[in-house]
Amino acid sequence: MLYREAGDFKTTYREDNQTFPIKSERILFWAAMAFAFLVVPFFIDSYWEKSVLVPLLVWALVALGLNILTGYCGQVSLGTGGFMAVGAFACYKLMTAFPDLNIFFVVLLSGCVTALVGMIFGLPSLRIKGFYLAVATLAAQFFLIWVFNKFAWFYNYSASGQITAPERAVFGIAVTGPNAAPWATYLFCLTILFIFAWFARNLTRGRVGRSWMAIRDMDIAAEIIGVEPLKTKLSAFAVSSFYIGVAGALFFSVYLGAAEVTEAFGIDKSFLALFMVIIGGLGSILGSFLGAAFLVLLPVLLKNLFVGSLGWPTDVAAHIQIMLIGGLIVFFLIVEPHGLAQLWRLAKEKLRLWPFPY
């Protein structure tokens, strides 16, 4: 009864183009946003920040970026970890070279640097597709990690090879470094994610998104219609890498604080991002969030359940947790190969007709 589109008539194309065409969806969305922005910061503590919310926000941004490339433009990438590393190291170099530069701009510039690197590694996509492209981006992953290990300039010649984020502030409130308050880091990440998700949604609903999807669905027909493959594919690589670079910068500076490249940005991160996108739903903004939530929150939840409530030994719990998550991934993919976002869509379709589904 709450979820109805009857009587919700669209009389202009503008209204018809809305992100949330149904009124109850709009109300729900803005209520959730109000809760996230206005309520959560007052109750957040260090545990929720470090274990749940900030990683969730950062990984949602990574998934969003990868979904633009893989879900919308159809170019499979296994270089996500490498691109996150580019964002992180660009952020570190900019933070240490320009201590007065606002961290917000540092993060954006890191994204720009990553976009450039992403475009270079996107060049092979003009000749190769599918699995072959995935292997080419895998090369990016290993090459970039090797570069950041090999050349000491990137980690400012520190003895440990680690990079450590100095304290930086927005409006005088520290968001990086050991003294940053949980609510400050949370709000900083949330604001960036909100802006980026809104931008991604706009890109994907208009001309740019259609040209990406045209390349994804049938590249020859797309070219004959007038989509330039070179420009379109590279733009997808650029935007996607920009998002992943910004996420990498936040991952390093706000979330980890200190990072060692092989450990923080290894190949497992690339796979994690790809799993998020596939489980969440390829070609769906909502799917990016659902996928990230699934793979970030579930381990935390299971750990709390096994170790916290049931009192199992940590190692047993960890192994069972891995098995359970693997099993759930397979289960969800069998139930709905198009991901959680599709399940959500189906649920909405059912709800529209409920309780008279004829």
Binding site: N17, N202, L203, S211, A214, A221, I225, G226, E228
Partner: protein, 278 residues
């Protein structure tokens, strides 16, 4: 409503005006030869397409008809020959450049974007007409939104014209074959082409669908003044629709002229009835 659409469309065709009078040569292909390795797909073919006409290309299977269309819209590059489109001679050209010059086409096997709705598919047809860059589209509010709505209006005109309002928001993958063909025609029309290439628009259709499609093709030609070159195997349709017919066989041109003349051409009859090649 219909009057409004026609006005809208004629405004757009005026914008695409290129100074070629109706009946003048819109497209001329001269001495085109195309081969793949040792296989000669097209040898030394010349013909023209006049502005405002419906030009049919026919021939038995493997005659080189689709190869010819692929040459015209830049997908294949002929080894020899010259193509003159709208008074401009062109050399090698990528398909998206041909699209920008005003050539649109449909495919023998439907080539729709399966993951997108009917509306989005047809909107994609207008991609060469949309100018705003990525930054504006990311912001959405303002210029990009105005542009999207302006093009949406034109696309709704095409949706009305093809009578596919009810499937506007349906993903095209789930549509029946006949409707998919219609959506594909809509996508090609959305580009407001000067020359529309149709590769077997009626393949696999029943009689009723063929009649519908024939009416759409005639209406496109007459209402929008779009020049059409089409490949079709149904001889009844070809003879009724087209102003002039060019006949290919084994990569060579064996006939060219009005339907009645082609029908009585001995070479054409031989090619279709199967006379042994010397």
């Amino acid at each position: 409503m219909n009057v409004h659409i026609r006005e809208d469309m004629s405004r757009h065709t005026l914008r695409a005006d290129d100074g070629i009078a109706t009946g003048g040569d819109l497209l001329k292909v001269d001495n085109i030869s195309l081969s793949f390795g040792g296989v000669k797909a097209i040898s030394d073919i010349s013909f023209d397409v006049r502005k405002g006409e419906i030009r049919a290309i026919i021939g038995p299977n493997g005659a080189g008809k689709t190869s010819m269309l692929n040459v015209i819209n830049g997908f294949y590059h002929p080894q020899e020959g010259v193509i003159t489109f709208r008074g401009k001679t062109r050399s090698r050209m990528r398909p998206h450049e041909a699209a920008r010059q005003g050539i649109a086409r449909t495919f023998q096997n439907i080539a729709l974007f399966k993951g997108m709705s009917t509306l989005d598919n047809i909107m994609t047809g207008r991609i060469t007409l949309q100018k705003r860059n990525m930054f504006w589209h990311g912001l959405w509010a303002g210029p990009a939104e105005r542009e999207e709505i302006e093009h949406r209006e034109a696309v709704e005109g095409i949706i009305d014209f093809l009578e596919i309002e009810h499937i506007r928001k349906t993903p095209v993958g789930s549509l029946p074959y006949g409707l998919q063909k219609r959506v594909e025609l809509g996508r090609a029309l959305a580009a407001e082409p000067a020359l529309l290439l149709l590769d077997e628009p009626m393949a696999g259709m029943n009689l009723e669908e063929k009649e519908d499609m024939s009416r759409f093709i005639l209406d496109v030609n007459q209402q929008f003044g779009t020049t059409i070159a089409l490949i079709e195997h149904d001889m009844g349709v070809v003879m009724d629709l087209s102003d002039r017919v060019v006949v290919l066989d084994y990569g060579r041109k064996i006939g060219d002229g009005p339907p009645d003349e082609v029908r009585n051409n001995q070479d054409v009859i031989d090619a279709y009835l199967g006379v042994p090649h010397e």
